[in-house]
């Protein structure tokens, strides 16, 4: 199999196959590519594990002012020796011709025994054909040269002289091919791009994760034979409490738990018969003076049960599976586990054969479909159901049992006054709790923060 490469990559690989270790500069020369193209090409090849870039530090030498002069005219001692080649010379003459390098060059020549000095004349003896340092001067010349290409001994003399050698420490790159690249087949096709490179992130438009959970739950209950009904979030106390056998002096009805709408009362709360029979049930069973004005007070519903009970009272079905889904309200301090407004699902089964075991069976099936298999039931208390149970489900992530839906059978004190004759199974609970488990969200407020960072990244299917 051969791989498609960009033209730049192809040229670099080809050049490196001829000459295995190169600097970027040398690649520029061999490939005729611009420095930028070379840089990008090396980067691409490196990401594909085809190129190896080794970086090292090295000294680059060039000639200083005195060095350049010596390169042009010869070292001072060479100039002295050249003057003596044609025969002995007088000292003042030499002094005049050599200028200020006369002193150092004389010193060096005498020390090395290249010249003989008599009273008024200086003559040459037997100097070496190449002086120490001359090789280096020639090698460097007007260019720059890496220190490791120069004979250290030859260089050492020049380094001691002022302004002869300039030493720069630079980082150098050396590019070579990896073993993979040495054997890879290069496709002939042109115009290929780097399909493995990183690309910019784009954000998906999506439905809200909580809405996804709501939709999922809605669909499960529809497939279990339930039909969806809708109802208002603002309700009279009559339907939110009285019709559900919650006495008017019950603590749950106080301002500190329930949101009452400021100065808003409902004129028409129910049929005269409904009102009469509900009030009678309260008077008889709870023994207090039932007050219709209390029942008229408008509240933000504390559960969706008011929607289903109203539906039952209006339709009185002999057989039904119905559910209602929506926002409910509690006057609580907002915290990581409490909201003032959250979603609840609430369902009922009406039918002469409806039993507590059926109700438990529906719950178990629902949990199974949202992926919860460890479920148990505990007795509990709700004012409007008897018997009442709560589901406990085991959460693997948290390693503990947590409470989910509550359920029960509507009390006759609830159903009889409203003319409902068949047993009614009811169940319900909060949806945010399920969504928290699903999306691994520890703070329930996250669902209403509309934090784009989270909304754009939360995995849709969990």
């Amino acid at each position: 199999m051969s791989q498609v490469f960009h033209e730049i990559e192809k040229k670099i690989i080809a050049s490196l196959r001829d000459n295995p270790k190169q600097s970027p500069e040398s690649l520029e020369k061999s490939t005729q590519l611009s420095p930028d193209q070379i840089r990008r090409g090396i980067e691409w090849l490196k990401l594909k594990n085809l190129a190896i870039v080794t970086e090292s530090k090295s000294s680059i030498l060039s000639l200083g002012k005195n060095g350049l002069e010596s390169f042009a005219k010869g070292l001072p001692e060479r100039r002295l020796l050249d003057l003596l080649k044609t025969g002995p010379r007088k000292l003042p003459d030499l002094q005049k011709e050599l200028g200020f390098v006369f002193g150092p060059s004389m010193g060096l020549a005498r020390k090395n025994n290249w010249i003989e000095v008599s009273l008024d004349e200086i003559s040459i003896k037997t100097p070496p054909s190449e002086l120490l340092g001359e090789k280096t001067l020639k090698l460097i010349g007007n260019e720059k040269l890496s220190k490791d290409k120069i004979d250290g001994n030859d260089l050492s003399g020049l380094l001691k002289r002022p302004d002869f050698i300039i030493e720069d420490v630079v980082k150098t790159k050396e590019i070579s091919l990896s073993d993979l690249a040495k054997s890879i087949k290069i496709s002939d096709s042109v115009g290929g791009i780097d399909v493995e490179a990183d690309v910019p992130e784009i954000f998906v438009a999506r439905t809200h994760p909580l809405k996804d959970t709501i939709d999922e739950i809605r669909e499960i209950f529809v497939t279990l034979g339930f039909s969806e009904i809708l109802g208002n979030m603002t309700q009279s106390s009559f339907w939110n409490f009285d019709a559900l056998f919650t006495p008017q002096d019950h603590p749950a009805r106080e301002l500190q738990d329930t949101f009452y709408l400021d100065g808003i009362n409902s004129k028409k709360i129910g049929t005269p018969e409904q009102i009469r029979k509900v009030s009678e049930s309260h008077k008889k069973n709870w023994r207090y003076q039932w007050d219709i004005n209390e029942a008229r007070k408008m509240v933000l519903r504390t559960h969706t049960t008011c929607v289903t009970i109203k539906h039952l009272a209006e339709n009185k079905p002999d057989e039904a599976r119905i559910f209602s889904l929506g926002r409910v309200f509690r006057n609580e301090k907002v915290s990581y586990k409490h909201l003032v407004e959250f979603n609840q699902i609430e369902g009922i089964v009406v039918g002469k054969d409806a039993s507590l075991r059926n109700l438990m069976g529906i719950q178990r099936e629902f949990y199974k479909r949202i992926g919860i298999t460890k479920v148990k039931f505990w007795p509990t208390f709700f004012p409007y159901t008897e018997p009442s149970l709560q589901t406990m489900v085991y959460n693997e992530k948290l390693g503990k049992w947590i409470e989910l839906f509550g359920m029960g059978i509507f009390r006759p004190e609830v159903t009889k006054p409203l003319g409902i004759t068949q047993p009614v199974l009811a169940w319900g609970g909060g949806i945010e709790r399920i969504a928290m488990l699903k999306y691994d969200v520890g703070d329930v407020r996250e669902f209403y923060n509309n934090n784009l960072g989270w909304l754009r990244s939360a995995t849709k299917c969990q």
Partner: protein, 546 residues
């Protein structure tokens, strides 16, 4: 739900031969949730309809039934006595008309028992006593009281030494200076007379429903108790007395009766009741097929008595179980005695076809269309604040719908518009990359007979090139593709939008919404650095209209 703290070792002593683990495993099946455990201590939550579970004595009675250690009804043995009498003066009739009481003798009261009794008293006051309004209890050291007593009224300058005090105080001072006085004084209203229980020597025993006298304080040296309950309904007062009497008997006290006369008062009967329930109702409701003897034994495990007669079960219910209203309550007692853990869930096939509500279907279609247009769905609370709804967006706040006494300042007003919430969302996301495009559908509220709830649809687009044309294209495409509806825009002004860049959304010549470029001052207030365009329209008046 009320919470009490119990000790496993004390419970073990009260119940009989059971292990700590057996107790903790069984508590939930009595309807008691374990809140937390710490070695020997366990905190449990009980239902307010079972005030007998407010002490370990009551819980032990229930546990004995579940474990089969002791089953059947808890009989109250009250010795008839003529030594203890309360006469009631008719002056109490209009204030707090009823008193009842009982004597409990020869008990041992240690610190833990006192603590349990105090918790029970407080829980009874809060729950069935409705914060002492309906009924309230006083528990006294019997030996400090000279019978007969009188339950009467007195003036607000009546003086006595109240509980936890050493000096004589007037009723008025108690009501204005003490915590209990401040908390419960309002129950007595403004009347110049207040209820009082005085003994033979005119010494104050109790000032119901506020405070007892110091002299009758119960200590670890107390052996004999006098319990009085006062209230506005005789039955409620006696219900409360029944709970206290049952608990005291379980704690080892011998009960003796108190004779009460005058002003429509009478001695408490604390009688058992009989209730009939059909075996078929039990089996149908639970989905079981239990024979009579199993039903009877289950009821006995729930500490009731029962015998079967034909297809019926005749139940005997003790006075403290006033939470039992009718036959269905007995069904639950059978279920508890039988053991909820023994009920196997069954899934019977549905006789009905399920159906999604048409409104939900349409809203979901709209969601999908908006996502296709690159908009992300947001969700905001319907209960929000004046700041978000009106102050930040210059909207008219004359017709607000507010809730009473909200515990959260950010949640005080029902929204009449969705768009302000989306603007608020943008302001919280200024550090996230642009373009930012969001939409929301949801309920908005208006005052109308008494409240109308409609569903609105709002969308917003924020980025450096955002403009009117873009957002108009969005709404037109969404409604056209989603529902085949063609809307037009007509020049309008609106305080939230910039003049000259604002229009009404019009359907069949009827305005159903508003669209345009958000006013630059609002954008500035929100510290948003890019232009924002948006719209809001009624779905109830358009696509959801029948």
């Amino acid at each position: 739900m009320p919470v009490i703290e119990l000790s496993y070792s004390r419970l073990q002593k009260l119940i009989g031969k059971v292990t700590k683990k057996q107790i903790s495993d069984s508590l939930p099946f009595l309807g008691l949730d374990i809140e937390s455990e710490d070695k020997d201590l366990v905190r449990i939550e009980y239902s307010p309809n079972r005030p007998d579970y407010s002490t370990d004595y009551g819980i032990a009675l229930g546990m004995q039934g579940l474990f089969g250690i002791k089953t059947g009804i808890v009989k109250l043995n009250v010795k008839k006595s003529n030594n203890y009498q309360i006469s009631v003066n008719s002056s109490v009739t209009k204030i707090r008309p009823f008193v009842t009481g009982i004597i409990a003798k020869n008990g041992k009261v240690d610190d833990k028992t006192i603590k349990q009794l105090m918790t029970m008293q407080e829980d009874l006051h809060f729950g069935i006593g409705r914060k002492r309004k309906k009924s309230s209890i006083g528990i006294h050291d019997l030996n400090k009281i000279s019978f007969p007593l009188v339950y009467t009224t007195t003036t607000r300058d009546h003086k006595f030494i109240p509980l936890n005090s050493e000096k004589e105080t007037t009723v008025s001072e108690i009501l204005t200076n003490t915590d209990v006085g401040k908390d419960y004084g309002s129950i007595l209203g403004q009347s110049s007379q207040v209820p009082i229980i005085l003994d033979e020597n005119q010494n104050t025993v109790s000032f119901p429903p506020i405070i007892n006298a110091a002299v009758t304080t119960v200590t670890t040296k107390t052996k004999n108790l006098f319990v009085e309950v006062t209230g506005i309904a005789k039955e409620d007062a006696e219900d409360m007395l029944a709970v206290v009497a049952t608990i005291l008997q379980s704690a080892g006290f011998i009960l003796e009766s108190v004779k009460i006369t005058g002003a429509k008062n009478s001695s408490p009967k604390l009688e058992q009741r009989k209730m009939i329930v059909g075996a078929s109702l039990i089996n149908q409701t639970l989905g079981l097929n239990l024979n009579s003897s199993k039903i009877v034994s289950s009821l006995k495990k729930s500490r009731l008595d029962a015998i079967s007669k034909g297809t019926n079960i005749i139940c005997t219910i003790p006075a403290y179980r006033f939470d039992i209203f009718g036959p269905l309550d007995l069904v639950e007692e059978v279920a508890l005695g039988y053991g909820i853990q023994n009920l196997e869930p069954v899934l019977s096939p549905s006789q009905t076809m399920g159906k999604i509500n048409p409104v939900s279907i349409k809203l979901k279609s709209l969601d999908q269309t908006m996502i296709g247009l690159g908009f992300l769905e947001a969700l905001n609370s319907s209960l929000t604040s004046k700041r978000v709804l009106y102050d930040m967006t210059n909207r008219d706040s004359t017709k607000i719908i507010s809730v009473l006494d909200s515990k959260s300042r950010e949640h005080t007003i029902l929204r009449d518009s969705i768009l302000p919430g989306l603007l608020e969302n943008l302001s919280k996301n200024i550090h996230e990359s642009y373009p930012q495009k969001m939409f929301e559908t949801g309920t908005v509220f208006a005052t109308e007979n008494p409240i109308s709830e409609k569903i609105n649809f709002s969308g917003i687009s924020a980025h450096k090139d955002a403009n009117f044309t873009e957002i108009k294209s969005i709404i037109q495409s969404a409604l056209n593709v989603g529902f085949g509806i063609k809307v037009e825009t007509k020049t309008a002004t609106n305080p939230t939008f910039e003049d000259g860049h604002c229009a009404s959304i019009v359907l069949n010549d009827i305005p159903i919404g508003i669209i345009g470029k958000i006013d630059s001052k609002i954008i500035e207030n929100y510290k948003i650095r890019v232009p924002v365009v948006g719209f809001e329209m009624s779905l109830s008046d358009s696509v959801l209209k029948n």
